[in-house]
């Protein structure tokens, strides 16, 4: 019964793939209305890290939403959490930074600041983050040369977006924590808090 076998295989494959593709749920905020593009389920990670814990973090100078150009070195003396997110106007990213926006105190209590980085250009970041309320942390554009900073950390994906990655850099500029998350899932906040708590002042 070759036909039956094919059918059974077909059905099983369909169910498996359907489960695989349909399983992500984002609980997306209504703040973004119908403006979020769904990129479907993506390859969880798609780059090779170029840094490791204990390395000096690669410096960068990037334009921020507020109009200034910020460099990593100017934050020496403070712990820095870098949140790379893949792209503006996508489901998980849109529901990540708004959460960080209500926990400024958690960062401040740990002598830390947050830098949000995407490979989008400033006008796109402006329009997108306007839905999030006033963000207390700098949002940086790694648009040109495209993804140069993401690439220096080894988190630039083959399609030009960045990984959903968290780097914790201590007050001396040393990388102390790296988490490259599945691009389809939001990292739990407590993972960042634990990483900050592990830093010896």
């Amino acid at each position: 019964m070759k036909m039956t076998g094919n059918l059974v295989r077909g059905i099983l494959t369909s169910v498996l793939l359907a489960g695989l593709f349909l399983s992500p749920a984002y609980g997306l905020s209504d703040a973004f209305k119908a403006n979020i593009y769904s990129p479907k389920n993506l390859k969880p990670t798609d780059s090779v890290l170029k840094v490791k814990v204990g390395d000096k973090a690669p410096d960068f100078r990037l334009p921020s939403l507020s109009g200034e150009t910020l460099s990593l070195t100017q934050f020496r003396g403070k712990n820095v959490v870098i949140s790379f997110v893949p792209a503006a106007w996508t489901p998980v990213c849109s529901d990540q930074w708004p959460g960080y926006n209500i926990v400024k105190d958690i960062f401040e209590e740990r002598n830390a600041t947050l830098l949000g980085i995407t490979v989008d250009n400033i006008p796109t970041l402006f329009a997108w983050t306007a839905q999030m309320g006033d963000l207390w942390f700098p949002v940086l554009s790694d648009f040109w040369p495209h993804g140069k900073t993401a690439d220096s950390f080894g988190v630039l994906r083959s399609d030009g977006t960045a990984e959903r990655a968290i780097f914790v850099i201590d007050s001396r500029g040393i990388i102390r924590y790296i988490a490259i998350h599945d691009i389809n899932l939001r990292p739990p906040l407590e993972s960042i808090v634990k990483a900050l708590d592990a830093l010896v002042p």
Binding site: I11, Y37, I102
Partner: protein, 252 residues
């Protein structure tokens, strides 16, 4: 796949649909015996068995339709593809109870239960808000929700009869607690880290409000709507009116 409300984002078409459709087109096409032999993985349709071939084609078509339905319909384990409908029962979701004594008292949990369902809650009316600490509108709505809670608790006619529950979609217990502490929320918020409750509620966008009438262990959804409400008084009046709570004695 999710967010099935109006103005929904581009709906995802699984890749698996394409081969299935091709198979459907191939099998539903009338084939000559020569054409039949060209098809990879397909039984050759013999000239002397036209009826069997037709039956097989029909069978394959039905199976293809079944597969198509499985693929296209967002069918999760225990999930729903629509939000709770007005007039229907509220989905039988299990809520893991907080240890917090005040919250247990608020919900009317007197024994050592680990979890409850909505009809177990000691109330005539439950207002469920699906929220997230990552949702800007839920953050903005938080003070109004607190005001709603305070209005109910300060009214002897409503206190104990209307209970508010938050369900933090995709939030870990830590994250749900961050939201609760940040906005000093007095009503219980249940963390739904794996989105299982969120799925059972039809993958709604947040904030989403569901009004549930509880009578003699049965539930009836009377309000199910996406989006923040305008004013606390109007919302509360509407909840009382729509639920038919007004003038009725407590069932408990």
């Amino acid at each position: 796949m999710h967010l099935p409300q109006e103005g929904h984002i581009q709906r995802f078409r699984p890749y698996t649909r394409i081969p299935v459709m091709r198979r459907f087109e191939r099998t539903s096409k009338k084939l000559s015996p020569q054409e039949g032999s060209d098809m990879r993985g397909e039984r050759r349709v013999s000239q002397d068995m036209p009826q069997r071939g037709a039956v097989r084609r029909m069978l394959r078509m039905v199976c293809a339709m079944v597969i198509l339905c499985i693929v296209v319909t967002p069918c999760y384990a225990g999930g729903a593809d629509q939000p709770p409908a007005v007039g229907k029962e509220f989905p039988a979701i299990s809520l893991t109870l907080p240890n917090d004594a005040a919250h247990r008292h608020y919900l009317g949990v007197t024994r050592g239960e680990k979890s409850i369902t909505v009809p177990d809650i000691k109330a005539d009316l439950a207002i469920v808000e699906v929220l997230s600490m990552y949702c800007p509108h839920c953050q903005a709505e938080a003070p109004k929700m607190n005001e709603l809670y305070a209005r109910i608790e300060s009214d002897a006619a409503l206190r104990g009869r209307i209970k508010i529950l938050g369900i933090a979609a995709g939030n870990s217990p830590y994250e749900a607690d961050v939201f609760r502490k940040k906005y000093r929320v007095s009503f219980p918020i249940f963390a739904d880290g794996d989105f299982s409750i969120h799925k059972a509620l039809g993958d709604v966008r947040t904030p989403y409000f569901i009004g549930i009438r509880i009578e003699k262990g049965n539930t009836r959804v009377f309000y199910s709507k996406l989006g923040a409400f305008e004013t606390v008084n109007e919302f509360l009046d509407m909840m009382i009116r729509e639920s038919g709570l007004n003038g009725k004695e407590s069932a408990k």
